[in-house]
Each structure stands twice: as structure tokens, then as C-alpha cells.
């Protein structure tokens, strides 16, 4: 019962955030009137941004994995660097 209650709390919070987001971006699909359903290519065509995301999949090197790991490392590196910088600033004696 407690677990169900907790799951419910998580889902309610998620739906609230999702709802706000949906309303902000424009849930009826009119936030970008120049790009309505009729204007956009449907399944089977190349995407306008040049990303053909391989609907069949299973081919080639997993370059996306490498990109993901690099981006994660960048995030971690920036975070650690900022932490080190903050501790350096804190430990620096104030000149009078």
C-alpha cells in the first residue's frame, strides 16, 4: 500500500510537470504554424534536420554511445572543475 502511494506521488508530480510543459510548448501543435502536419514529411522520408534515425536499426558502429559517453564526461568534468574552482576561491586568503 505504501509503495502504491509512493508510485502515485511520483506519477502525480510527473503529470503536473508534464502538463505545465505541454501547456507551455503548445499542446495543440500550433506553436509553429509554419510546420503543421501537412507540411512535414511522414514516416519513410528523411527528416528535415538530416537525421534519418534508422528505423530498422542494427547497423554500423554505435557512434551514438560514444557521443553519449563523451557528453556525460564533459558534464562530469565541468562539474568537477567548478567544484575545484569554488574550493580554491574559498581557500584563497583575502588580501587586506
Amino acid at each position: 500500500m505504501t509503495t502504491l502511494y509512493r508510485v502515485l506521488v511520483i506519477l502525480v508530480v510527473a503529470f503536473m510537470i508534464g502538463g505545465v510543459m505541454f501547456a507551455a510548448v503548445g499542446g495543440n501543435g500550433t506553436s509553429n504554424p509554419s510546420a503543421q502536419a501537412g507540411d512535414l514529411p511522414r514516416e519513410g522520408h528523411d527528416r528535415p534536420d538530416g537525421h534519418d534515425e534508422g528505423r530498422e536499426g542494427g547497423g554500423g558502429l554505435p557512434l551514438g554511445w560514444i557521443k553519449s559517453l563523451v557528453l556525460m564526461s564533459v558534464g562530469a568534468g565541468v562539474f568537477l572543475g567548478m567544484g575545484r574552482l569554488a574550493s580554491l576561491i574559498k581557500s584563497k586568503p583575502v588580501l587586506s
Partner: protein, 166 residues
């Protein structure tokens, strides 16, 4: 190693691999990308349930002093959660596999696609920070897991007292 910690570690490792697969739809294909993302959403709920006590404790003591590390962690976890929801909502809006399977047709909007790409890239950065913050726990738990599954060498001390005396 406690059973809960082992469950947490194995769940997190599985979720991490699934996250990497989901982040590369070019290799997996769009159907795997979407269905695995839904499964990952369920895994994140279990992840939150397993860490529920920490979540409640930090929420209660958020404004008290001496909680610096946990506070940073807490804020980053919220950002990751919000970003995850952003990915899910925008993903549903541009779905090409799950939503059509349900017999629904949503209007196409480039804004959702841009938001999906942007939030996915942000989630990678946040995930990197999330892993960094828990790195020592991950390494220690993994070491304990490996030691736990490896058969322990039999030493005289580990044997019965009669054998030691002999």
C-alpha cells in the same frame, strides 16, 4: 553487501545500459528506442522508490544547515527528473511507433522535436554529473558485489578449530 544495495546497483547498471541504447536511436531503431524508453521510465520509478527515504529526509531538511553535498545532489536529481519528463512528453508528441500502435495520430510540430533533442542532450550532461556524485558508492558497491560472488579462499582461520590445531 546488503540485498537492497545489490538490487540498487544491478538496477542502476541495467538502467545505464538501457539509457545508452535509448540515446542512440540510429543503432537500435525507432521502435526499440521508444519501447525501451518507456521501460526505462518504469525503472526510474523503481529507482526513486528504492531511494525514497533519502528523498524524504532531504526534502524535510532542505533549508537546514550542513546539507551542502546532499542539497546539490537533490537539486540535480530534480533537474534530471524534470528533464526526463520533458524527454517523455516531447517523445510522445513525436512518437512514430507507440502512439500510432495505440491508434492515435498526433499533430506534428517541429518544436517538440527540437525540445526532444535539446532535453536529451541536457540529460546526458546531467547524467554525467549524477554518476560523478555517486561515483564512490558505485565503485564500492561494485567491489563488494564482485567480492561477494567470488569464492572465498579457505584459510586456516576460516576452517574449524580442530583442523587449525592439527
Amino acid at each position: 553487501m546488503s540485498k537492497t544495495n545489490r538490487t540498487k546497483l544491478l538496477l542502476d547498471l541495467g538502467a545505464f545500459v538501457a539509457f545508452l541504447v535509448v540515446m542512440d536511436p540510429r543503432s537500435s531503431g525507432i521502435a526499440v528506442h521508444e519501447w525501451l524508453a518507456v521501460a526505462l521510465g518504469g525503472t526510474i520509478i523503481v529507482h526513486l522508490l528504492l531511494n525514497w527515504n533519502w528523498l524524504v529526509e532531504v526534502t524535510k531538511r532542505f533549508f537546514t544547515k550542513g546539507l551542502n553535498g546532499a542539497r546539490t545532489n537533490y537539486i540535480l536529481n530534480w533537474l534530471l527528473f524534470i528533464d526526463g519528463i520533458m524527454i517523455m512528453v516531447s517523445g510522445i508528441m513525436i512518437s512514430e511507433s507507440i502512439v500510432p500502435t495505440l491508434g492515435l495520430m498526433l499533430p506534428q510540430d517541429m518544436a517538440w522535436r527540437s525540445l526532444h533533442d535539446l532535453s536529451a542532450n541536457i540529460s546526458l550532461l546531467l547524467m554525467g554529473i549524477h554518476i560523478t556524485l555517486h561515483w564512490s558508492w558505485i565503485v564500492n558497491s561494485f567491489k563488494r558485489l564482485v567480492n561477494f560472488s567470488r569464492p572465498q579462499p579457505v584459510t586456516p582461520l576460516a576452517m574449524g578449530s580442530k583442523e587449525v590445531k592439527a
